[in-house]
Structures are given as C-alpha cells and as structure tokens.
C-alpha cells in the first residue's frame, strides 16, 4: 500500500484516518420542486499523508460532498445525512462555533476558481493574515511575517510586495498559490482541493500539483483531491473513488484503477483520455450519451443507459435489488453487475508500478 511509502512527518496517529465519511447523503429541496439527492450514501476515509481522489463528471456530486464535509452548504433547502467524522468527532450537526474553529485551522479547502474565490477589494496580505489572526495567537506583525513566509513557500516571488497587492494584480497561477497559502496557513491536518487546477493552463497546473504533492509529503496532511481530470489522479492520488450520479461506483488503488478499471464507466473515462504512447491516429472512445441520461439508483444502475455492458439485470425490476457497492478483491470496491474482466495475471504483474 502506498500509505506506508509516504512517511507522514508530525502525524502521530499513523493509520488512524483523519477524515471518515460514512453514508453521506445530501438532498436539495426547493419549494414547489422535486427534491434532488446530489450525494447518495458516499463513504470514504483519508489517513494522514494520504491523497484520496474523488473523480467524476460535472454534477456527479463530488463538490457537494466536499462542501458537506466542510459544513459550507447553505442551511436552507439542504438536508445532510450520514456521518462525517474528523479525528473521530462528528461534524454533522456540530455547532457553527465548533465548525468555525476547525475550518481554516484543522481542515482547509482550496477552491476551483481562484479569481472569484478571492475578495477583490481586500489585499492578498489581509486575506492571508486574517486566517492566522483568527486561529493562532499572533500579533499583527507576526502574522504579516508568517504570511510572507507562506507566500514564499507556495512559490510566489517577491512575497512582501505581493502582500500589499489585490487579487486582480496577480496572475491566475499566483492567485491559486495565494489561495493555497491561505489554506495552509495553520498547517491543517486535512486539505480538500476542489479542482484546484481547472482554471489554469497546463504548465501552471503541473506546478500547482507538484506543490500539493510536496505538501502532503512534507507535512503529512491528508489530501482530498476533487477532480474530473484523470491526469491529476495519475500524478497525485493514492486511492481513487469514482463517483457517478451521487454514488461511488468504484474504489481502488490508483495503479490498480489505471491498470484494470472494472466499472465500465471508469473504463470509459480512461479510454476517452488521449494518450501520447498510443498509435498515431487511434480514435478516442468517448462514453456515449451524456451525464443527463441517468436513471435513479432505485431503479437500477444509473450508468446503465450509457453502458456497453448493460444487461437486463442492471435494472432493479429484473434483478429484484439495487446494485450494491461490493468487495472486489483486496482494496477494491465495485458497484457493477457486469464489470470489465481481464485475463488472469500473476498478482504482482500489474501492480509492479505501485511503489513510487
């Protein structure tokens, strides 16, 4: 397992998950409209120094999951069920005070659009120091010094000058770095990154991912990486949970997942990524249909309408039960009745690349 490969510095409770999400459900209700269940029984855990990816298309519920964990969903019109434990303490139903004490200090989040996620009328410096002043016993001057160090650490050149500038004066990459600096200000034990690289160009993307990777290694932070980009997963995540229509449909170690995807959806995702090492002119294989072609999980596998392997018993009506998330070999879980199969290979062969 790759957790052992990354010795987490400063984390004394090795193996004990920092975050445990259990049967999380999020339902949005609006007056006069049918309620929608955006997250439907999602469970996963993240250990110190581990990077867990939540992967899926837009609208699959990955961002809502992260907001639910942080307690940042609006109160009105949203019901959150299940359990979210941080360090063993239940967060769902915790008081606003408790959550505010945890957020920013012990658990932090990096958002996707760095420009809109920064306050346009407040200098970067204030936006960094306000976290420090809120959660750490620091004087204003100490906070400014610490903020300078933080900006330097995330690779912003000339940090003392940048502190006085406003978000619009920074480049996209620098803004994302500044957001990361704010998230890291109090050395959180859990960092949730919600598509932190989507708004950035490719070279900057690589730098930001490298930065996050270093952080996990250096500080033993547990990282939840939310993304639709399999390239990000390949470069960063230890474990991957693939989500579809609000549920996890496949969980596996990164190398396992890339080598032998079992859910046809995961297989489709991998097949639709262009590969440099493939033959020239090889066509891409998109998943047919769109994310709107879903059936409710109660009626069968939500992916069935788009799935090439789908058979009659994918529907609840035929099989008599909904498709469960089941054990699928060591460290793997799968929600599928007709998974992709592979000719049996010696156990070590595909996992040879597992050690990093």
């Amino acid at each position: 397992m790759s957790i052992e490969d990354l010795p987490p510095h400063g984390a004394d409770r090795t193996g004990q998950p920092v975050l445990e999400v259990d049967e999380l459900t999020v339902t949005f209700t609006r007056r006069g409209e049918q309620s929608t269940r955006a997250v439907d029984g999602v469970s996963f855990a993240v250990a110190p120094g581990e990077t867990v990816g939540l992967v899926g298309e837009s609208g699959c519920g990955k961002s809502v999951t992260s907001l639910a964990v942080m307690g940042l969903l609006p109160r009105r019109g949203v019901q959150v069920g299940g359990s979210v434990r941080f360090d063993g303490h239940e967060l769902l139903g915790a008081s606003d005070r408790t959550l505010r004490r945890l957020r920013g200090a012990d658990m932090a989040m990096v958002f996707q659009d760095p420009l809109s996620s920064l306050n346009p009328t407040v200098p970067i410096g204030t936006q960094v120091t306000e976290v420090l002043l809120e959660h750490r016993d620091m004087s204003r001057k100490e906070a400014v010094d610490e903020a300078t160090r933080l900006l330097d650490r995330v690779g912003i050149p000339d940090p003392a000058r940048r502190l006085k500038e406003y978000p619009h004066q920074l480049s996209g990459g620098m803004r994302q770095r500044a957001l990361i600096a704010m998230a890291l200000a109090c050395s959180p034990r859990l960092l949730i990154a919600d598509e932190p690289t989507t708004a950035l160009d490719v070279t900057i993307q690589a730098q930001i991912l490298e930065l996050l990777k270093e952080l996990v290694v250096d500080t033993g932070t547990a990282l939840v990486m939310i993304t639709h980009d399999l390239g990000v997963v390949a470069g960063l995540c230890d474990r991957v949970h693939v989500m579809y229509a609000g549920r996890i449909i496949e969980s596996a170690d990164r190398h396992e997942l890339f080598a032998r995807p079992r859910q046809p959806y995961t297989g489709g995702l991998l097949a639709s990524v262009p590969r440099l090492d493939g033959p020239r002119g090889a066509p891409l294989h998109p998943i047919r249909g769109s994310a709107r072609d879903v059936i409710p999980w109660a009626q069968g596998c939500a992916f069935a309408p788009r799935c090439d392997n789908a058979q009659d018993d994918c529907l609840t009506e035929v099989s008599g039960s909904t498709v469960p998330l089941e054990y699928d070999g060591p460290g793997r879980e799968l929600r599928c009745r007709h998974p992709l199969s592979y000719p049996s290979t010696p156990a070590g062969a595909t996992a040879s690349g597992a050690a990093r």
């Binding site: 004490r101 957020r103 306050n119 619009h168």
Partner: protein, 334 residues
C-alpha cells in the same frame, strides 16, 4: 491622479459652453420677457423698450451672448432683475442652504437606508424583508411635493413639533459668517440659532431624502443578496473566520460598491436644487431661487445659477469617482 482631475476639470469647459448656449436660447424662447415681468402686463411698449435698452436686451442675441460670456468667465453674471443684487452674491447666500439640506437628506437616507437594506437581505424572505421592499417601492412612487405637504401638515401645522417653513425663525437675530446657518450658529456659539436652523432642516430633509432612501434600501438589499453568494464569501467561511469578520470585511465592503455609486448620483441631483421641496417649505435654497426666477424671467439669475450648479454637479461626480477608487481597488485611478 492629478492628471485625472485636471482632465475632468478641462471637460467642464465644453460642457459649460454648450449649456450656456442652450440656456441662452431657451430663456429667450420663453413667452414674455424680463421687462414684461418687471413692469407688469399693462406696461407700455415705450417702457418696455426703455427697460430693454437699459439692460442691453435690445442688442442682437449674439452680442448679448458674447457680452454675457465675457463677464461670466470673471464670475460676473450680472445683477438680478428682481432684486438688483449681483447674481454671484445671491448664489453664495442660497447655495449653503441647499448644501445643508442635501447633507441632512443624504445622512438620513444613508443612515436609515443601508442598515435597513442590509437587515432586509439578512432576513431574506421575512416580514421585514417584504416590508422594506414594499416600503421602498412606496417611497420611490410617492411624489415629493405630496409627501412634503403631508409632512408639513402633520408635523408643522397639526402637531406643531417642527417648523414648516424657512431656514430660521425671523425673531432669532443670528450672525451670518458662511451662510451655512447651522455652521454659523456653531461658529458664533449661538447654540439656539444653530439648533433652530437644524430643526428647520428636518421636515424638508426627510421629504427630500425619501427617494434616495428608498433607492438605497433596494440597492443595498439586492447587493448584499448578491455578495453573500459570492465564492469569496464561501472562502472566508472556509477559513473559519468569525461571522462578524466575514460580514464586515467580505460582505458589507463589497456590497457597498454599487450603493456608493447611487449615493454619489443622488447627492449630485439633490445639490442641483430641490425645487419642489424648497418651494413647499419656503426654504431659501437654490431650488426656490430658480423657481422664483423663472416666473420673474430673471435671466441673469437663471443663467448664473444653472451654470454654477452644473459646475457643482460635475465636481460632486468627480469626488464620487475618486472616492469609488478608495473602495474598489480595481478601478483605482492612477
């Protein structure tokens, strides 16, 4: 910054030239004339001709205009045909009254409007919210003169709580320094005069401030509702900041940007003379002066006042633009 200010001030020149031509043409197009107004309907043609000759009104229009322009650049707009006093002197006496009234109205509108709009947004969907929306609609829809008469009738005539006309009780013999009556009272330590002038501002100030108040409530409310859904407010919450800090630094500050624009525009409007309100309350500001001068065909006062008000309006807007940059770094002028 300095270049920005100079450029804006230079823009004043074409504005004033254009305005003066329009004014000149418009005034001469009015039926009747200053002679008729001054001498009455039964004045003989000879008397009118003599009057016109005396005031140079018999000259060709272009000559009149150039003569007017030549004196105007030296801030000499001639004498009022009604009172015989220099227009500039009258302006300096009247303008402070309008400024005081505008300040009172805007302080009232801002002081009530921003908190009310903010609360309405915080309690979105509550009775307070609905009440503020309906109330502000009423505020915008009520004609100012109607409200002014209503306030005067109720608080001045019926209840007698507040004075309902003028800028100061006649029996108070106050010393004038700046013509800002409240300020004069404070400067000369004539406290009763200052207080009396202040109470004279209350009713017209409220009547005048109602429309800006209603607009400010609506804009503040809409703006706060917008800003609380912004990503950066979510970021602030994700940082675990205290609710008060999130509100003050991240919500209110940004929500006030559109409000400040409105405040600037409204202030400019009120300063250029609240004709209706000033007339109802017989308040001696520029608005009532313009109103009276139109009836008297007092060309000199109209030309002088309107041009000087245009300057005031442009200056206020310049101030607004500069202060906007203080609030929003993205539009800061260099």
């Amino acid at each position: 910054m300095l270049r920005f200010i100079v450029r804006r001030l230079l823009q004043l020149i074409p504005i004033l030239l254009g305005l003066s031509v329009l004014l000149f043409a418009w005034l001469r197009a009015l039926p009747g004339g200053p002679a008729q107004a001054a001498l009455g309907e039964r004045a003989t043609p000879e008397a009118i001709a003599r009057y016109n000759e005396l005031f140079g009104l018999d000259q060709p229009l272009i000559v009149q205009y150039l003569r007017f322009l030549g004196r105007a650049v030296q801030l000499d707009f001639g004498n009022s045909s009604r009172t015989g006093r220099p227009v500039t002197e009258e302006f300096l006496e009247r303008m402070p009254g309008t400024i005081e009234l505008t300040l009172f109205a805007m302080v009232f509108a801002i002081g009530v409007g921003i908190p009310l709009g903010y609360l309405a947004a915080r309690k979105h969907g509550s009775w307070l919210d609905s009440a503020s929306v309906i109330g502000s609609l009423l505020g915008v829809a009520t004609p100012v003169f109607f409200l002014a008469y209503l306030l005067r009738l109720l608080f001045a005539v019926e209840l007698g709580w507040l004075p309902g006309s003028g800028r100061q009780e006649v029996r108070i013999d106050a010393t004038r320094i700046t013509n800002f009556y409240v300020l004069d009272g404070v400067l000369t330590r004539e406290w009763d005069a200052a207080w009396d002038a202040f109470t004279h501002l209350v009713l017209p100030g409220i009547a005048l401030g109602t429309i800006p108040l209603a607009i400010i409530v609506r804009i503040t409310r809409a703006s706060v509702l917008d800003v609380v859904n912004e990503d950066y407010v979510r970021t602030a919450n994700a940082k675990g900041l205290a609710t008060a800090t999130v509100r003050r630094r991240h919500v209110v500050r940004n929500a006030l940007l559109p409000v400040s624009t409105t405040i600037g525009l409204q202030t400019g409007l009120l300063l250029s003379g609240a004709v209706l309100t000033e007339t109802v309350f017989a308040f001696g500001g520029v608005g009532s002066a313009i109103f009276e001068s139109i009836f008297a065909r007092d060309f000199a006062v109209l030309q002088g006042f309107i041009l000087m008000l245009a300057v005031v309006y442009v200056l206020v807007n310049l101030l607004v633009d500069i202060s906007y940059g203080l609030l929003d770094p993205r539009v800061r002028v260099r």
